[in-house]
Each structure stands twice: as structure tokens, then as C-alpha cells.
Amino acid sequence: MQQSLTNVSVRALSRTKQAQTYVALEEARFMRRRIMRSFMVGLLGSLTTVAVLILFIIVAYTTVNGIGGINLDFFTQIPKPLGQEGGGIAQAILGTLEMLAVGAIIAIPFGIGTAIYLAEYGAGWFADTVRFSLELLASLPSIVVGVFVWALVVRSFTGFSGIAGAIALAFIMVPIIARSVEEILRLVPNSLREAGLALGIARWRVITKVVVPTVLPGILTGVVLSVARAAGETAPLLLTALGNEFFNFDLSRPMGAMPLQIYNYAISPYKDFHTKAWGAMLVLIVVVALFSGAVRYSMRNLRRAR
């Protein structure tokens, strides 16, 4: 090649060189891209692992610290006076259950009613405004709800009371129910609505007797999800239910609740209280996990049934 150098072949050579450099460059780029890709995937994987690991650490740590505090007394006894060992948080468990139940009874009609309105009737700017407001309400810091209910209900009407706590929890539940149930109602194929309408059945009957029953499991799921979320809320109860160390079924008086009990025990200086706080956290985590598991399970069945 070198013997027959002409202008043409020089150009050809330089072109070959260019091509070679280009190939080399391309290869280097490819290598760099490969290394970069391995690095980024590794990074994303580690970030994901850490994010999930935190959950496992929380659960493991809570279990280790709390399991010792859980026994029969824990579920059946009220707290012993300061300084005495033993006792339980039965009044807090009871209070949580009662306020969740009353809160759900208040929230369900508003939540489901809103969902039906949005999915079946709502259109235009009003529905959009409602949806946006629900989004906002759902992401509102829960202490805001607590203070709001304190100002509106506790201060003017009931004083610190179970009912005020239940109202605050209902505020938490309504947007969750409304949004999830609206999504679920939209899963109902339009052909079913048309089948009902074509039989000469009024629209509201089609909704209540065809649409809602068809996705009833999904609607229950939305409700359960909202109750699970409300079960762990502390801030809305601090200024409303206040907490109670004794059994109280009376909604008009201060009421114990598990998150409040955890809070009070956690900030106390006593080892026994700390163990009980961990135990209560463990119970809460297990309950919420069970709820979520049931929801995932029933949603899967619902999708499969469609």
C-alpha cells in the first residue's frame, strides 16, 4: 500500500484512518455506555433495595422490641398506675375500633355518594373542581384536619371527645373512599349501563341495582383501604379524642386510641412503657398489613372476574 501512494490513495488512506478512528471512538463510546448502564442499573437497584429495606428494618426492629410487650393482658387490661408493671392498652384498642367504626359510618355515605356523582353524573368544571379538591383534601397534612376539627367541633360543641375523633378520622377517609370508588365504578363496562337503560329502567336504579352490585367487592376494598389509613393517624386525634387511660365507650368523652397511646408511651421515660409502645406499633402494623393484603387479594379477584 505504501509503495503506490498517490493523491487518491492518500485520500483513501486518510478515509480509512478516519473510519478506523471512528470505529475506535464508537467502541469507546459503546464501552462507556455499557459501564454507565451497569452503574446506573446498579445504582437504581441499590436505591430500591434501601427503600424497601427500610420497611423490613422497621418491621424487624418493631417486632424485636415489641414482641416482649404483647401478652394477653396487653389486649385485655387498661394501663396500670404509674410505677406499677403490667397492664395493657385495651382501652386504646377499643377506642380506635369505636372511632374507626363511627368515622367510617360518617365517611361512607359522603365518600360513596361523591364517587357515584363523579363517575356517573359529574362532568365539566364542577366535577373537575370536586376531583381537585378531593386530591387536595387527601394530601392535606393530617394535623391540619386535627386543628380544624378542634376549632370547629371540639371548641364549639363537644369538648375533647370520641365523636370529635371519629369526625376527624372521617375527614381522612372521605377523599380516599371517593377517589378509589370512582375509579372502581369506571371499571364497569358501559354496555351494562346501556343494557339496564334499554330495558326502560331509570338511571338511578341502573346505578344502584346494576353498577354498584357489580363492583361491590371493589367498593368495600376502597372503604377498607381508607379505614386502614385512618387507623394509624395520630395527629387528627391529638386535639380531638385526646386519649384516655380508662375504659370509655361514651363518644361524648375523651377516648383512648392506639396511635395516641404509642405517642404518650414513647415520650415517657419508662422502659415498660417503651416496650408497650413498640408492642402497640407492632399490632398496628400487622392490622394495616392484613387490611392491605386483603385489598390486594380482592382487587386481583375483581380484575380476574372482569
Partner: protein, 274 residues
């Protein structure tokens, strides 16, 4: 199929119900879109009329406006008149719910209520409404409707099973049974066989020939052979350049297919387009 099933006593002296449906300058709109323009059709009592035409010609739109089902679509409205036995169903003060009760509809895809049994599906028109009129035996209604829909023999032992468990063709006949259980005056069928296999299609077609003795039937179909097989009258619709559907030709099925008066009809039925 039908010949073998036992004939109910009522069948021997069929009352010619004689319900007539007519459109006058029917225009249908979806918001800004003008879907169908100036359709004038007359559906005579106890006849099957087929609406044919390429996709998008507005035949389903016309059908859905005959029992005010198109109103379910947002922003849809109608100008002109639809007369049921001379009475305008679009007159102010007419309740669309009652109109749909008198003009039943069967859809393209079988849509039995999945949460209900076969039995409940048939009486859904009563059950979901104010309940059956007093003194009416629901069992009788279910049996009569299922017999009329040529489904009784196949499902009489599984009345309590879910309607969704039946085959596609059975589901469609169940939907027909559900429609005729409330004894409408007119039956609208929107491509009732397009989701079915040939055997089920044949059964539905035989069924239509029976049902026409009691009902006025309007049938939308993509299947020209089906129109030839079952329809007494055929209407050809076409959307021109403007995408607005027009009625091109309306005549007896024989005339339309043997001797169409419009070139476009001829082109369509000979498969030159669509």
C-alpha cells in the same frame, strides 16, 4: 330448533300487535358533529327492516335514536320526529325511560348482568324496576320469554346459574329473552350476531323470523346475506364526503338487492366498496 320446542297455546292465535315506527326528518348530532341528516323511514308492523351501510354511515346512530338510547352519549341530541304509533317520542314531556320500555334493544355484544342468574336476568326489567305487576307469575314470564327466545330447553336446568356462564350465542338469546320479557312494542337489534359463530347466528335469525310475528323489528347488520335472509325491508345508508349519514335508498329487500335504483346501493351490495 324452534319447530321442535313445544308450542305454547298463545302462539296458535298470535295477536298482530301492529306497532308502527316512523322517522320524520330525523337529524342526529353529537355536539358539533352532524351524524345523520334527514332520515325518513317507516317501519311497518310485524316486519323486519334491515339498516345496512358501510361503517360510519350512521345506521347504529339511527337505531339508537329510535328508543332515545343515543341520549346516553354526552352532548348527543336529535332534531325531527320519531313516531311510535303516530306519537312523537321526542315530544316534550315524554319520559325516555318509558319509551325504552316500549322499544326494546339488543346490543352487538351480549351483555347479560354478570351478578345475576339466568332467571334474574330474564326478569331484570321487572326486578330492577318497581317489581312485577300484581298477580303476575314470574316463573311463567321467565318460561315464556325463554321459550320465545328459543333458549328454554338449553337453560331450564340452570336457571339459578350465572348468566355469564352461558355460551356467547346463549347469552345473546338470554338478552333477547330479557328484552321481550317486558313485552315491548318494537325490538331494535344492533348487529346482534356480529360477535357470534355461524350456528348461533343461524339460531338468532330463526328466532327473528318467529319474533316478527309479534314484534316490529329493526335490525342493523354488517352482514348483507343476513339482511337478504331475514329482512322484509332494507334501508341503505351512506355518509358522503361531508361524513354526514344519509338515507340513500329504502325499499323491499328484494328490490334493494335485485334491482337497486341508486348506483351507490348497487356498488355497495356488489361489494365494490365498504
Amino acid at each position: 330448533m324452534l319447530a321442535n320446542s313445544p308450542v305454547l297455546p298463545e302462539r296458535t292465535d298470535i295477536i298482530q300487535k301492529g306497532h308502527e315506527l316512523e322517522t320524520r326528518n330525523l337529524n342526529v348530532y353529537y355536539g358539533e358533529t352532524h351524524a345523520v341528516e334527514d332520515v325518513n323511514l317507516k317501519f311497518s308492523p310485524n316486519t323486519i327492516t334491515a339498516l345496512i351501510g358501510p361503517s360510519g354511515c350512521g345506521k347504529s346512530t339511527v337505531l339508537r335514536s329510535l328508543n332515545r338510547m343515543h341520549e346516553v352519549t354526552k352532548n348527543a341530541y336529535v332534531k325531527g320526529e320519531v313516531l311510535l304509533n303516530g306519537e312523537n317520542i321526542y315530544a316534550s314531556g315524554v319520559d325516555p325511560v318509558r319509551i325504552r320500555r316500549r322499544i326494546g334493544m339488543v346490543f352487538q355484544k351480549p351483555n347479560p348482568f354478570p351478578m345475576m342468574s339466568v332467571y334474574e336476568n330474564v326478569i331484570a326489567g321487572f326486578k330492577l324496576n318497581r317489581g312485577a305487576p300484581k298477580g303476575v307469575n314470574l316463573d311463567e314470564i321467565v318460561e315464556r320469554a325463554l321459550r320465545s327466545a328459543a333458549l328454554w330447553d338449553e337453560v331450564k336446568d340452570k336457571l339459578k346459574e350465572s348468566g355469564a356462564a352461558l355460551s356467547g350465542g346463549q347469552q345473546q338469546r338470554l338478552c333477547i329473552a330479557r328484552s321481550i320479557a317486558v313485552e315491548p312494542e318494537v325490538l331494535l337489534m344492533d348487529e346482534p350476531c356480529s360477535a357470534l359463530d355461524p350456528i348461533s347466528t343461524l339460531k338468532i335469525e330463526e328466532l327473528m323470523q318467529e319474533l316478527v310475528k309479534e314484534y316490529t323489528i329493526v335490525l342493523v347488520t354488517h352482514n348483507l346475506q343476513q339482511a337478504v335472509r331475514v329482512a322484509d325491508m332494507t334501508a341503505f345508508l351512506l355518509a358522503g364526503e361531508t361524513r354526514v349519514g344519509h338515507l340513500i335508498e329504502f325499499n323491499t329487500t328484494q328490490q334493494i338487492f335485485d334491482n337497486p335504483s341508486d348506483g351507490r346501493t348497487a356498488d355497495y351490495i356488489t361489494g365494490r366498496f365498504g
